[in-house]
């Protein structure tokens, strides 16, 4: 999929987006009956502010806009009429002599002659002058034209792709059909894995080029991941670039489902296969890029996966979603624990999982609103936290994840998204752009994992952190939403008490160390119990959810289990 835009319409869209934000900001109400509506208004405004406006500004600031303007002005002067032209994001270079020569040479060849030439070129990934990439672009353009025109030619190229990396390289230089690029990647991954030597690195690079080209079509990325043999190869190939693999996995597992909700079933089939691999040949861990991509994608699966975690041991984790008519057996509880354990061998993936759990917890609490003391859905948080705790203790990763679930890290992700499942459980809706979330999560996770100080690790693990997070989220809910207080029996609490609670909440969230955080939590809990008994009762009601008490059990130190 090309990235292109009309500059004049982009400016108009930008203006309209800003006007929309202003109009949404102006919508206010103190009526409790309007709380849900205002929540929807706020989500829409946040989406526009966090994603539309930055993307529009990025496009407006790009040099392509400047180039277009000078050309367009000349065209307007010449024609006297307003014009509107398409620009590709990557403007084609002026053709070089080499480009023209290669283009002319291939134009005269039949399909059979091109295939013969490819066979002759052998496994040389770049048979032209390496300084002149326009020759590869010319070849790629010609190949793409032929693939578009003739399915049988395309099939022959796919068959040759494992032995001729130039075919995969070409997918990064021209607009090939996504299905073809996906088939090329699958064919290359089906071949014997290459784990060493110059040829192996060249072939890994070629696969990466094709994977990068396919990022524009997340559905095709999911098709590749859905191929069991290709998935196994991706999950264990150490020569693949970690970032490209993470982006590819996130595109398939997260973005594809965000764009088409029915793909959730395909996404879960991939997770089921990864569960099987994690309990088999990938028991020792998986490629970090795959682990991070899956971990980051969990932000979209957690609200359907959490309800499926019901009983431990050999009981199945059965994912059911009625909206998309999905029923998938992911594996037993112990097998799913092993999947998350395999993911957790990578520190940034640990952090991403912790942040996913933290964000889900906040989203569930906020979504429950005045129903929070009925605990609908909150028990899922506690059970899922327990599963992650089990997996983390096995991998001695609990402390990393626990620290990552803290709100400061979670806020870096800007909120969580889920896949079009209509429920009152999450207020965050779909307010994030997948690529923005994935790249920010990956960068934040890597940065955070690099600066972790062992002395700053929490004394308590992920389940206990979740206990605190539920408490904090429940308090923040009523502090931020006065309209809910009456229905929760808190209408009589004085304004200065709310101010004091808010002040103590801020102290917890701004804690600079884990020890300071624990101390500030203690101050907050004491104030509520001693000074604001109504709020203390509310918090006790929230905490009276199935499984939450277990989260406060002291876990053994790392390695003791």
């Amino acid at each position: 999929m090309e990235t292109c835009y009309d500059p004049i319409k982009i400016r108009e869209l930008s203006r309209r987006a800003l006007t929309s934000i202003d109009s949404l900001t102006a919508l206010t109400s103190s009526d409790q009956a309007a709380a849900d509506a205002l929540r929807a208004v706020r989500l829409t405004r946040q989406n526009l502010e966090d994603h539309w406006i930055p993307l529009l500004r990025e496009i407006e600031d790009s040099t392509a806009m400047v180039s277009w303007l000078s050309t367009a002005l000349a065209a307007v002067r010449l024609s006297g009429e307003r014009t509107s032209e398409w620009l590709t994001h990557h403007s084609p270079d002026e053709p070089t002599a080499e480009n023209l020569r290669v283009r002319a040479a291939f134009a005269e060849m039949s399909d059979e002659e091109v295939l013969s030439w490819l066979s002759f070129a052998g496994d040389d990934p770049f048979p032209w002058n390496e300084q002149d990439r326009s020759a590869l672009a010319a070849f790629a353009d010609d190949l793409a034209r032929r693939v578009d025109a003739d399915d049988s030619f395309a099939e022959q190229l796919v068959t040759l792709a494992p032995t001729i990396p130039l075919i995969a390289m070409a997918t990064g230089e021209a607009a090939f059909p996504g299905t073809f690029t996906g088939d090329v990647i699958i064919a290359m991954l089906h071949s014997t894995p290459w784990f060493g030597g110059l040829d192996a690195h060249a072939e890994a690079h070629a696969v990466q080029v094709a994977m990068s080209a396919l990022l524009e079509e997340p559905a095709k990325c999911l098709d590749v991941l859905a191929d069991a043999e290709a998935l196994f190869a991706l999950a264990r190939w150490p020569l693949l670039d970690t970032t490209i693999l993470q982006q590819f996995a996130t595109a398939g597992l997260y973005e594809a489902v965000l764009l088409e909700g029915k793909s959730l079933e395909d996404g879960y089939e991939v997770l089921a296969e990864l569960t099987r691999l994690a309990n088999g040949p990938l028991d020792g861990g998986m490629q970090p890029g795959m682990a991070r991509g899956v971990a980051i994608s969990m932000t979209g699966y957690i609200d359907t996966l959490a309800p499926a975690v019901r009983h431990e041991g050999s009981n199945p984790v059965l994912v059911i979603d009625q909206r998309y008519d999905i029923e998938i057996d992911l594996g037993t509880y112990d097998e799913v624990v092993d999947l998350f354990g395999a993911l957790m061998r990578d520190a940034p993936a640990q952090a991403a999982l912790g942040a996913a759990l933290g964000g889900y917890t906040i989203a569930v609490v906020n979504g429950l609103g005045e129903n929070i003391t009925e605990h609908l859905g909150l028990d899922r948080v506690t059970r899922f936290a327990d599963l992650l705790g089990d997996a983390a203790r096995v991998e001695q990763a609990e402390l990393v994840m626990a620290a990552a679930s803290e709100e400061t890290f979670r806020r870096q992700l800007g909120g969580m998204a889920r896949f079009g499942i209509d429920a009152g459980l999450t207020a965050s809706g779909v307010g994030v752009t997948a690529r923005s979330l994935a790249s920010r999560a990956s960068k934040a996770a890597v940065d955070w994992a690099a600066r972790v100080d062992p002395d700053e690790m929490p004394d308590l693990g992920i389940p206990s952190q979740t206990y605190d997070l539920i408490t904090i989220a429940a308090l923040a809910l009523v502090v931020d939403t006065p309209a809910l207080r009456s229905s929760l029996g808190l209408g009589g609490v004085k304004d200065n008490s709310w101010d004091n609670i808010e002040e103590r909440l801020e102290a917890v969230e701004e804690s600079s160390s884990q020890h300071e955080r624990v101390a500030n939590m203690s101050v907050l809990n004491r104030y509520i119990e001693d000074e604001v008994p109504d709020v203390g009762g509310y918090v006790r009601d929230v905490r009276n959810v199935e499984g939450l008490a277990e989260l406060t059990e002291q876990r053994g130190a790392v390695g003791e289990d």
């Binding site: 108009e12 869209l13 079009g420």
Partner: protein, 92 residues
């Protein structure tokens, strides 16, 4: 129950209906009309459109919920007014 409560309910109903109308009149509700393939095309624009579509669906549903709640308030107000009138008649 008294007439003041009925009046308050009707005020709330008017307010909710007004809020629903204001939501639907927001320029955000037809922002998607100006964000089609002829304006911008690519993966990021597609994702932006998909998320906005979900947001607009939520906004429309929320506006309908506001109108339904307003209707319920009006029905409650009517019942109160009827009861007040009956009590006046009986007292008279």
């Amino acid at each position: 129950m008294n007439i003041i409560q009925a009046t308050r309910l009707r005020e709330r109903a008017r307010h909710l209906r007004g809020l629903a109308t204001a939501m639907e009149a927001s320029p955000a509700m037809n922002l998607d009309h100006h964000a089609g393939d002829d304006t911008w095309r690519g993966r990021k624009p597609s994702l932006c459109r998909a998320i906005l579509a979900a947001n607009l669906h939520q906004l429309h549903a929320a506006a309908e919920d506001l109108r339904w709640q307003a209707y319920l308030f009006e029905q409650q107000a009517l019942e109160i007014e009827i009861m007040v009138r009956r009590s006046i008649v009986l007292a008279g």
